[in-house]
């Protein structure tokens, strides 16, 4: 019985180890940073003053984090040695008295070495979510097939992506992309020409060397387009379709534009254009420059533009506020329905049942909206 129990224990340990290996291979877990990182002392000259280097040093906390981070090759290093095997070796090895102390020290070192701490690799989760957001964007903007090709490309280049915010994928050969595409669900029916055409629709950069052709996708651009879409949808909701058109014009132009030109390009009456521009400007969606000329017939010009960086910060702040609001409303709804929530199911009849169903539905809606909002927050905060 004992042997049987040991077998079960052993097999569950194996299963655990196997699962853990899988997690390490998929980079979902990684080595913890070193607990006592060594920082190089600042360079001091003869007079005891700190030497000013040409390149500005990063802040101390960042330097510590960088020093503590395990080497890239060690982050996912999993020792495959077997503990029992080690023990077996130990028993068969004859220990000579002169080597005893040395060996003890060695064992201690080995124990220390083996004591590897692991943690969840948040970066990997974020990278995968970033890829997911890109794929979802392409799926809605182009089509399902383009999304399959993109996901194949991201799959191939993920090992080489350094850091979370990789701007571009590496150059991938069309053969490798094709091989990955046909492995995916829905990708089997695609031929070479179709893949090539989709790569083109995705706006991939091409590199042709002899017989081989390689493609690279601009991940940062897809993220930026998704961010733009989020802000544009906000403009649409708050200010209506004409403002949406005006905002998109300025967003695409990326430079200062004059009121009249904006009115002409968007088919919005000049008076209405001015009203919309002022409203957007008042709410910090736009920046305005007032230009006066003495030569032209019209001497007073107002020029408009979007400061995307500043606007995204503002929108992100409002999103955090909205996320808090959703959470508070969830808590409020729970508080309002606390009496019916406590009731056993068989006592939920009539009005109390209606109240309970309402609470359940409202909570479901609020929580699903919170999840969508979280996705949007990630788009601006992490990606």
């Amino acid at each position: 019985m004992i042997a049987g129990y040991a077998d079960i224990e052993g097999s569950s340990e194996n299963v655990g180890r196997e699962s853990f290996t899988k997690l390490v291979n998929a980079r979902f877990v990684e080595h913890c940073p070193a607990p006592d990182p060594h920082l190089e002392p600042p360079v001091v000259d003869e007079k005891g003053k700190k030497k000013k280097t040409q390149v500005e040093e990063p802040p101390l906390d960042q330097r510590v984090l960088a020093a503590a981070a395990p080497m890239e090759s060690m982050r996912f290093f999993l020792e495959m040695d077997d503990h029992s095997e080690e023990k077996g070796n130990e028993t068969t090895t004859s220990v000579r008295s002169g080597q005893k102390r040395k060996q003890d020290e060695g064992e201690l070192d080995a124990d220390k070495k083996k004591e590897v701490l692991w943690r969840v690799n948040v970066e990997e989760f974020l990278r995968r979510l970033r890829h997911k957001a890109c794929i979802a964007h392409v799926k809605s903007k182009i089509n399902e097939e383009a999304a399959i090709v993109l996901s194949a490309m991201l799959e191939l280049s993920k090992q080489s992506e350094s850091g979370l915010k990789a701007e571009k994928s590496e150059y991938l050969s069309i053969n490798a992309i094709y091989d990955e595409v046909i492995k995916k669900e829905g990708g089997l029916g695609m031929d070479f020409e179709r893949v090539r055409s989709l790569l083109d629709q995705l706006g991939c950069e091409t590199l042709s060397t002899g017989m081989d052709e390689s493609y690279c996708i601009d991940i940062k651009e897809i993220i930026e387009l998704s961010q733009n879409e989020e802000v544009e949808s906000l403009v649409m909701r708050r200010y209506g379709p004409e403002a949406y058109r005006i905002y998109r014009l300025l967003s695409k132009a990326g430079r200062l534009m004059e009121t009249e030109k904006i009115s002409d390009s968007t088919f919005v009456e000049k008076k209405a254009t001015i009203a919309i521009l002022y409203k957007l400007w008042k709410d910090d969606f736009l920046q305005m420059e007032h230009v006066k000329t003495s030569t032209a017939k019209q001497s007073d010009f107002r020029l408009w533009t979007i400061n995307k960086e500043q606007l995204q910060k503002q929108v992100l702040n409002e999103m955090y506020h909205a996320a808090l609001n959703l959470k508070l409303r969830i808590a409020h709804e729970k508080d309002q329905a606390k009496e019916v929530i406590k009731l056993p199911k068989d006592k939920l009849v009539g009005e109390s049942n209606t109240k309970y169903v309402r609470w359940a539905n409202v909570t479901r809606i609020l929580e699903s909206c919170l999840m969508d909002l979280d996705d949007a927050i990630m788009l601006f905060h992490h990606f």
């Binding site: 903007k141 544009e232 949808s233 949406y244 058109r245 409002e318 609001n325 809606i365």
Partner: protein, 238 residues
């Protein structure tokens, strides 16, 4: 004595064969000299050296005789502009084909946009020239649109997110279009015409449209627990 002779005898001093008095002739000449650009009443006064009441009276009389017409100047709708009846307002005055009586002809724009969308749906992808030719062939419009006007319309549709601007790759749907040529295709997903673009996570909740979000606090007079927009939103769902 015949009746016509009697009329001749009664002709007002300073009138010519067309029955215009000197001031009216001066005003008419001033207006005619501006051709299809028209002229502002104040400029007529400056050019003719006539007093305000005389200019006003002359303009009124010329209008009654159907020799001049009032036109809306798109650049300045408040200033009354006049033009000789032989002329049609220039693009600078009228604002172009997309304007009618000084106002943006939204119905016409919408109709042309819908036509373009139909062409694009039928052909999947097409160039500016393709849309231009289709519009000319259709003969629905009372005027022949210029290439620039077609570009204006297509650009506005891109801004509405109804169509997307792409460059031809020469492959697949683009096989008949030279590589690198700017072309257009219908955007997948909804555009403004179909009820708005894709709603973002933030725009889908009341806070996304809330004009008072900056004054909203957990325990303040405006708070998520007492928010009327939230209450309305959550009650509408069922």
């Amino acid at each position: 004595m015949s009746r016509s002779n009697a009329n001749l005898k009664r002709r007002r001093p300073g009138t010519d064969e067309s029955g215009l008095i000197d001031s009216e002739r001066a005003v008419l000449n001033s207006i005619k000299s501006k051709g299809n650009m028209g002229i502002w009443t104040r400029d007529i006064k400056l050019e003719t050296n006539l007093t305000d009441p005389v200019v006003s009276k002359s303009v009124k009389s010329l209008m009654a005789k159907n020799l001049i017409k009032e036109v809306v100047n798109i650049q300045n709708k408040g200033k009354k502009h006049y033009m000789s009846v032989e002329f049609e307002p220039s693009k600078e005055i009228s604002g172009g084909e997309w304007y009618s009586n000084g106002a943006l002809d939204k119905e016409l724009i919408k109709a042309v946009q819908d036509m373009c969308l139909r062409f694009l749906r039928a052909q999947k992808v097409t160039t500016i020239e393709g849309v231009h030719n289709d519009l000319k062939k259709s003969r629905v419009l009372t005027f022949e649109p210029s290439r620039e006007q077609v570009v204006d319309i297509l650009n506005s549709m891109v801004l509405d997110n109804n169509i997307i601007e792409v460059k031809s790759s020469g492959l697949g749907d683009y096989h008949s279009i030279p590589i690198g040529t700017v072309c257009y295709r219908v955007a997948s997903g909804a555009g403004v015409a179909k009820g708005g673009p894709k709603k973002g996570g933030f725009a889908s909740i009341p806070c996304g449209a809330c004009p008072r979000i900056s004054v909203c606090t957990p325990d303040g007079p405006i708070s998520p627990a007492t928010c009327v927009y939230y209450t309305k939103w959550l009650n509408v769902e069922f």
